[in-house]
């Protein structure tokens, strides 16, 4: 790690900062009064969240009938949102765990907020399997626990039971990973806090971290192990989510390519969401020196790759349908492209196939506004991908007598908006209360030689 490296590669962090600058600038985000933009954001998010709470309360009090589902289409917005949010979550783990294992130093400025995003997204996702139940107050029956019913356990053959374990493990391990990675930073906040309450809270949260190198040494091992565990975990989670469909009997769901297809799709949408959030954050929180154009460019490259995989998956599905010689399978894909829900299919294709192609151009990759807009298109496209998979496969399956259509009610739309409200509320609160950039890790990539101003 010599000096000359910086002259060849662009530095990870701009602005020629010293260690104290990093501490001050990151902690200042929490210390200073929130900007009007933050207030605007939190107002919008809380309004959306309120709408969501009203919708969900009404639905739980009245019944699933307040959704537009019917006897043929038993899932629509609920599981679409679930898969969408799980997918969003994947980018965070990917950035913090996989890029860590690959020693990608550029991850340091975004991994903390990406992980936070993961946790919030998984929380949003986890909400849907609960509220989509007819009797959500009995959701605890999904867990195997000793009981007086015989005992009656759970069905370990059910992909939904797998989901419980996958999402549960994912949430626990992600949260652990996030919190564990944050401990040194919490200590930093504690040590510079003037306020007694703040000192107490962060003192408790930092678990007595004192910067001891002997602890650092083990800490690094544990961190690496967690990263190593989170990497297969993140792959497994979306694989399990895809099993909800892949292990079923419905044409359009019963597809063996789903696991890689879903994982790629998840990373695709996740990175798009990270981009959306980071572009907003760097603008509003003035973090251009931490989250540089390089970061944005790197992420768009990931989007090109995963977008390519997703495109290939779409093609594979059609090819296999044709190649299988199974009429039902062929019908489902023809119905997707040309049937009553063709509009949703073409929105999906438009957003997911065409959008990433713009990122082949460096000028676009480095144009923050265009990247921001395109990232939103990817998110829309990926939401529709799940909608198309779920609804178009169900609405016309085997027996024509049971065919039906689906249209959402305002309760479902309110719930979707509410989930965004929850997500952004949590995220906005996070950036105000926790160090949103991993100071410890950023400092380690500064290569600071102490030549800067004395502090």
């Amino acid at each position: 790690m010599a000096d000359h490296q910086t002259s060849i590669r662009e530095p990870q962090i701009h602005g020629n900062k010293n260690l104290n600058d990093v501490t001050n600038e990151v902690c200042n985000i929490m210390d200073r009064k929130p900007t009007w933009l933050w207030w605007l954001g939190i107002t919008l998010s809380l309004s959306a969240l309120t709408l969501g709470i009203v919708s969900v309360s009404y639905q739980i009090a009245t019944g699933i009938g307040t959704w537009g589902l019917n006897k043929t289409v038993g899932w629509a917005f609920d599981i679409t949102n679930f898969v969408f949010w799980v997918g969003i979550g994947h980018a965070g783990t990917l950035i913090s765990a996989i890029l860590f294992l690959f020693r990608q130093k550029w991850r340091t400025s975004i991994n903390r907020s990406a992980e936070a995003m993961t946790i919030f997204a998984v929380m949003c996702a986890g909400l849907f399997p609960i509220i989509h139940m007819g009797r959500p107050w009995l959701a605890y029956w999904m867990f195997p626990y000793p009981n007086f019913r015989g005992p009656l356990w759970i069905n370990f053959r059910s992909p939904l039971a797998w989901d419980v374990f996958a999402i549960g493990t994912y949430l626990i391990i992600s949260a652990t990973f996030w919190y564990f990675g944050m401990i040194p930073d919490l200590a930093t906040v504690r040590d510079r806090a003037k306020n007694k309450i703040k000192k107490f809270i962060f003192g408790a949260l930092s678990l007595g971290w004192n910067g001891s190198y002997r602890v650092w040494h083990r800490y690094e091992t544990v961190y690496a192990l967690l990263a190593g565990l989170a990497t297969p975990l993140v792959v497994s989670v979306h694989t399990v989510v895809s099993f909800d469909f892949a292990t079923s009997s419905i044409p359009g769901w019963h597809t063996t390519t789903f696991p890689p297809y879903f994982v790629a799709g998840a990373v695709f949408s996740g990175f798009a969401m990270v981009l959306t959030l980071m572009i907003i954050a760097r603008k509003t929180l003035k973090l251009e020196e931490y989250i540089t154009l390089n970061h944005i460019e790197n992420m768009t490259k990931v989007i090109i790759v995963t977008g390519g995989i997703v495109t290939a998956s779409y093609a594979t599905e059609f090819f296999i349908a044709w190649y299988s010689g199974n009429g039902f399978e062929q019908f489902v894909f023809l119905n997707r492209a040309l049937g009553p829900f063709a509009w949703a299919y073409w929105i999906m294709v438009g957003c997911n196939l065409i959008t990433p192609q713009f990122f082949w151009f460096r000028s676009i990759r480095r144009n923050v506004i265009i990247v921001f807009i395109l990232s939103i298109f990817v998110n829309i496209g990926m939401w529709f991908e799940r909608f198309v998979i779920i609804v178009t496969s169900l609405h016309r399956d085997f027996l024509p007598s049971a065919w039906s259509m689906y249209a959402p009610t305002w309760v479902e739309i309110g719930t979707l908006i509410g989930s965004f409200g929850l997500f952004f509320t949590l995220f906005l609160l996070f950036i105000r209360t926790m160090p949103m950039i991993s100071m410890g890790e950023v400092k380690s990539v500064l290569h600071f030689r102490g030549k800067g101003k004395e502090t």
């Binding site: 009981n147 007086f148 019913r149 015989g150 005992p151 009656l152």
Partner: protein, 212 residues
């Protein structure tokens, strides 16, 4: 506080909590919701099973005659009570004392209630409208459980197996928890007695044995 003391203190507290929880589960009237073990409501007529089933040795199905052929064992209709209480309307001691004192025996307070429910005066003459007796059900299973006495009686299951020693109870009490696990304790055993002419009976662990 001293660190060591702190540690010991918390350990002791912890053990005490665990013990308390175990005791409260084992020996108290605490049940998980829905479990009505030890339920012993007061009945409108202080009917004693101890007297009738215990001392008098009246067979269960003399009164609960529905058990053999119906879902419900049934609470006996007043006319079944009247089979005996047409004649018996007070205690043995009272009859003897009244005999000695050369007076009419005083009617038992509780037997009076049967007469009243049928709208009869003490001489068995109809004077009033009937008022059915509202008994309090002791053994309840939820509505989604289909329990029928009939197959159990056919299979020769002893009444006491589920209802306990009713002939010793002056006031009937639920002695079993009637939980699904408790049902299954029996249903899991081999029932040789049920291997009747009908051949093998259902696997009694099928959900649809009780839930439909």
């Amino acid at each position: 506080m001293d660190k060591l003391l702190n540690k010991q203190f918390s350990t002791i507290i912890g053990i005490m909590i665990v013990v308390a929880v175990i005791i409260s589960f084992k020996n108290s009237s605490f049940h998980i919701p829905g479990n009505q073990e030890d339920y012993q409501p007061t009945q409108p007529i202080a009917f004693s099973h101890q007297l009738h089933a215990g001392e008098m040795e009246i067979a269960c199905q003399y009164c609960h005659f529905g058990a053999e052929d119906s879902k419900h064992a049934g609470i006996p209709p007043a006319n079944v009570c009247m089979n005996c209480h047409k004649f018996v309307n007070n205690t043995f001691n009272e009859t003897r004392r009244a005999d000695l004192e050369n007076r009419k025996p005083v009617f038992s307070k509780e037997i009076k209630k049967i007469y009243a429910s049928l709208g009869l005066d003490l001489d068995g003459i109809k004077v009033n409208d009937e008022i059915p007796t509202e008994w309090v059900k002791v053994h309840n299973v939820p509505d989604f459980v289909f329990f029928s006495h009939k197959p159990h009686i056919t299979a020769g299951v002893d009444c006491a197996k589920c209802h306990g020693d009713v002939q010793t109870m002056t006031q009937v009490k639920q002695v079993e928890d009637l939980s699904m696990g408790w049902c299954l304790d029996c249903h899991r055993q081999e029932h040789d007695s049920i291997q009747s002419a009908t051949g093998r009976t259902a696997y009694l662990q099928d959900c649809a044995s009780c839930h439909y």
